[in-house]
């Protein structure tokens, strides 16, 4: 397949970064320590910012540079810093949120990637954007983040998973449609920021009311109590 080697270097770089982001997603899924998970999340944000900048350079769209800068500032620096600060104040920075059956979870993630690829194949037939393959990756990112949401118990790791899900969506926006309109993007960026802050407040409330951040204890919604 010589076609790939003939692509311009910048597009190869974009794909490589897409793959690297996928790796961080797997790493996030397998990470059982809270602080490590937040760090991996920061790396994911950083890679996403770099990818956005590359796409911006490739397409020449200046507003993507702003997105890249925002991503770097918020997802790679500010939110991880905020999460780590809160985790430290809650005293759970070094806590373990053990992954249930890590081997099986990773295998499931691998299967999800293949599944997403299968889902996207018909779509990409008529998408003429050069970075169309990345849609499969973005869907996989979202799916893996969802998998992480259902396999974790601690509220803080779930927030990390949620943020990583948002990363997946952002990835799709950048690679498939060359970014959303600036207003929308700014809006989302601030939404995420506010969400992070609100989550932070919630952590304290949850802990105050049930004296733990284990979301398995939040099962009051169940109709039948045994």
């Amino acid at each position: 397949m010589t076609a790939y080697a003939d692509l311009p270097l910048i597009e190869q770089a974009i794909r490589t970064f897409a793959a690297l982001i996928l790796v961080t997603s797997f790493a996030l899924l397998a990470q059982s320590r809270v602080v490590a998970a937040i760090q991996v999340f920061a790396w994911q944000g950083f890679l996403l910012a770099a990818l956005t900048a590359l796409v911006a350079w490739n397409s020449g769209l200046t507003h993507l540079y702003i997105s890249a800068a925002l991503t770097l500032a918020l997802k790679a620096l500010f939110i991880p810093w905020l999460l780590i600060r809160q985790a430290r104040r809650l005293g759970i920075l070094r806590d373990l949120d053990a992954v249930i059956r890590p081997g099986l979870t990773l295998m499931a993630a691998g299967a999800l990637v293949i599944f997403c690829y299968n889902v996207v194949v018909p779509v990409r037939e008529f998408t003429q954007v050069v970075t169309r393959d990345a849609i499969a990756v973005s869907l996989a990112l979202v799916m893996i983040a969802l998998l992480m949401l259902i396999t974790r118990r601690k509220a803080i790791t779930q927030v990390v998973a949620f943020m990583s899900l948002e990363n997946g969506l952002f990835f799709a926006a950048v690679t498939a449609t060359q970014g959303m309109p600036m207003v929308v993007e700014l809006g989302i960026a601030f939404d995420v920021l506010i969400a992070a802050v609100i989550f932070g407040v919630f952590f304290f409330h949850i802990r105050d009311s049930i004296e733990s951040l284990d979301v398995d204890q939040l099962s009051r919604l169940r109709e039948i109590n045994d």
Binding site: A5, L9, Q12, R15, T16, G110, I114
Partner: protein, 320 residues
């Protein structure tokens, strides 16, 4: 076949293998010297491994009372298969006739044959140490196999061949491309290599602390020339993985003809690549502590996941 009746080519390949084997102790001592320097110890002289071999070959062979013929034959087979594996790998010249003898999968199989006998030798004397070493070695080797195979698959899908010469030739022919599949394959191969060659953080080649060792536990009962052969095999195996890493993923500089100048350039390039890899290994071994035994499967799971993502990204991102 690549003119497999060409006598000069075969001779050159044999010479290359001899060079490979001769350089294996050098690579080991290079890693050791860097480690010593990093750890503020006085490094052993460059000739140390060769002197060790001379001493061991001169020494008398002792056998355990319970040892069977398997114990005596194993060193020869272990060393022989490792040399055979080395002969398959392009070292300074790509189109070696030996490469058609066996492809990447056979290479893995050949190394597995050596490991089988190594593990049997560990079991032979009937001490707990030997059994322990064999059990651990076989377990981790079994877990490393799928990761290794996926790396081979990613390379083979790329170049549509499992022949090592063809793969290297393909990578050389390509314009320089940034391929995620190769990147992750490289990382996975390094992790697998660390497990297979028993380096820190999986096994510590310098320790004789019974409860933590793997490779040394199996060869604990060996003496004299038997021990020398086993040591040579271990050093050669480390070099094999280093050369594989260097030549498969960063083959630039390797000679494609039997031209003296090109071979010289190739040799210098390979030496430089090995020097860098060895230095990286030494730095890594100095920075990282040996991990708990049952963390090794996690380590290998990382290798497998990386290899898998490499393969998947080849299919998804580098497709037509």
């Amino acid at each position: 076949m690549v003119n497999h009746l060409n006598l000069i080519a075969w001779l050159a390949a044999l010479l290359q293998t001899a060079l490979f084997v001769a350089m294996a102790p050098l690579f080991t001592i290079w890693v050791k010297r860097i480690k010593c320097t990093l750890q503020n110890r006085l490094p052993p002289p460059w000739s140390q491994p060769y002197r060790d071999f001379r001493r061991l070959f001169a020494k008398e062979v002792l056998l355990a009372r319970t040892a069977s013929p398997v114990f005596r034959i194993a060193p020869y087979i272990v060393c022989g298969t490792t040399i055979m594996a080395a002969s398959i790998i392009p070292f300074v010249w790509v189109n070696i006739p030996f490469a058609v003898m066996a492809d990447a999968i056979v290479l893995v199989g050949t190394l597995a044959l050596g490991r089988f006998f190594l593990a049997l030798a560990g079991m032979d004397v009937g001490t707990s140490f030997g059994g322990m070493g064999s059990s651990r070695e076989m377990t981790f080797a079994a877990l490393a196999e799928p990761a290794m195979l996926i790396v081979v698959f990613a390379l083979a899908m790329l170049s549509s061949s499992t022949n090592l010469s063809t793969i290297i030739g393909f990578v050389l022919d390509q314009p320089l491309a940034l391929r995620p599949s190769l990147l992750f394959g490289l990382l996975a191969l390094i992790l697998v290599g660390i497990v297979e060659t028993g380096r820190i953080p999986v096994d510590n080649p310098a320790t004789h602390l019974e409860l933590t060792m793997i490779h040394e536990a199996m060869i604990l009962e060996y003496t004299g020339r038997h021990l020398a052969l086993m040591e040579l095999a271990a050093q050669l195996k480390l070099t094999i993985y280093a050369v594989l890493t260097a030549n498969l993923f960063l083959p630039w500089g390797i000679s494609r003809s039997l031209d003296a100048a090109a071979l010289g350039v190739s040799f210098v390039a390979l030496t430089a690549k090995l020097a860098v890899l060895g230095a990286l290994l030494a730095v890594g071994e100095t920075l990282v502590a040996k991990m708990r035994l049952f963390r090794v499967p996690t380590f290998l799971a990382v290798a497998f996941t990386l290899a898998l993502i490499g393969m998947l990204s080849f299919i998804m991102l580098e497709g037509r």
